[in-house]
Symmetry: C2
Amino acid sequence: MPGDDPGIERALAKLRVRDVVTPEEERVFTASIAETRVIAAHRQIVRSGTTLSESTLLLDGLACRYKDLANGERQIQEVHVPGDYVDLHGFLLKTLDHNVGALTDVRIALVPHDALREITENHPHLARLLWFSTLLDAAIQRERILSIGRRNAASRIAHLICELYLRMQVSGLAEEGRYALPITQTDIADTCGLTPVHVNRMLRRLRGEGLMTFRGGEVVIHDWDGLVRVAEFDPTYLHLDRRPR
Amino acid sequence: MPGDDPGIERALAKLRVRDVVTPEEERVFTASIAETRVIAAHRQIVRSGTTLSESTLLLDGLACRYKDLANGERQIQEVHVPGDYVDLHGFLLKTLDHNVGALTDVRIALVPHDALREITENHPHLARLLWFSTLLDAAIQRERILSIGRRNAASRIAHLICELYLRMQVSGLAEEGRYALPITQTDIADTCGLTPVHVNRMLRRLRGEGLMTFRGGEVVIHDWDGLVRVAEFDPTYLHLDRRPR
DNA sequence: CGCCACGTTGAACCGCATCAAACCAGGTGG
DNA sequence: CCACCTGGTTTGATGCGGTTCAACGTGGCG
């Protein structure tokens, strides 16, 4: 495993933002990866219900957790950016209660659960950082509950765009108010609990108000403060502060 | 700390359903409690943003995690039953991104973060069980995202009632298709992303269809299979299976 | 060239919200 | 023992945000 793989670097960056990570811990983290793999867009990465013996780190591309209803409706529960551990929770749950799919072509790393277990036995601080990263996922999901439950359509979309901007920044993939987001309006609809048609109209409105543009797989934020206001976005839940954990 | 406190017993029961817990681990778990406390209904238990040095175990009564929007609307992100660790995630997040409130009079236990840290250092298996319990919270929240995002009003409510039934059962607080749920229709509305008025109408419908009754702070399930069908309820996400974790 | 996935736009519709009022039970004080 | 108050429940009338259905546009690609 090359220690300077940009994907692994993003995962480490995500940890370093939240706490000091020792070189030894970085070494153990990197060494835990058994193999990397490439998966095409729209393919499943992990299927709900199968017993797992390894967890998946997203190195490049976008992925999502989702669940389908009997009538075919889909709900995306979380969008993953490079550096995210997409199914670290599978380590202890043993089986996922949802699917993980590739939104774009992705490159992933596989980490055997044995290696994770070993970390919990011998590297408690690193184990806490991994635990933390699953707690961060949960915080993001809680904010999604608030969005879908109580925000209106425009606000939900604006909130998602704000959140992804900061998360992409942590992974070093955003600059000057713009970032690549090569997903469809239907994906956004499935994330926000809306229909593609309505997402289209709201995107047009946000663009018309000079707040942001989403086009050609790229987000450009024209007025961050305005977008934050519409979204009622408060980044506290992303816990972007370095503290001893 | 009396080891046979029914509240602590419920918390241990919740772990025992998912894995074998050794007597030594039970002792450590029980010993981690520094003090117990009683809090009146509708009081806050943990306020968003304050730095925490202890976590809260719910021994008796019902609590919830919630967030408010600027216009005063409230979204309950999770309902807690006795035996739940309401802010175990505060151990590593250091500060909560939401509030925790008492839905009824509650009795809680406080566990210093130092004790939790000590568990992660010296009792890795117990630490994994605690980690697991935060993952379970996340799974419950993911299912809520699906509910609010894609299920209709009646289905959302039915789903909540099904979920709480099983969770109360694990804590030994449900029997023969009935359990105490002394909360208001407004609380249900805030959990399901609906208005109290509409919750009232849907409850009436579920009752009219002979599926369930919610009255006087008690749930009576008349037709479990029918309720499950309306809710599209699949308990997989509650991970009610005992496995080595 | 023609297909196909995605984006865009309009018109009609509906599930749930909003507004408003009445009802009901338990609790309190006169 | 009644009068009153308060928080919660129930019901009706009306309105809106978002869905549904349908058509058309558009760019990439075999």
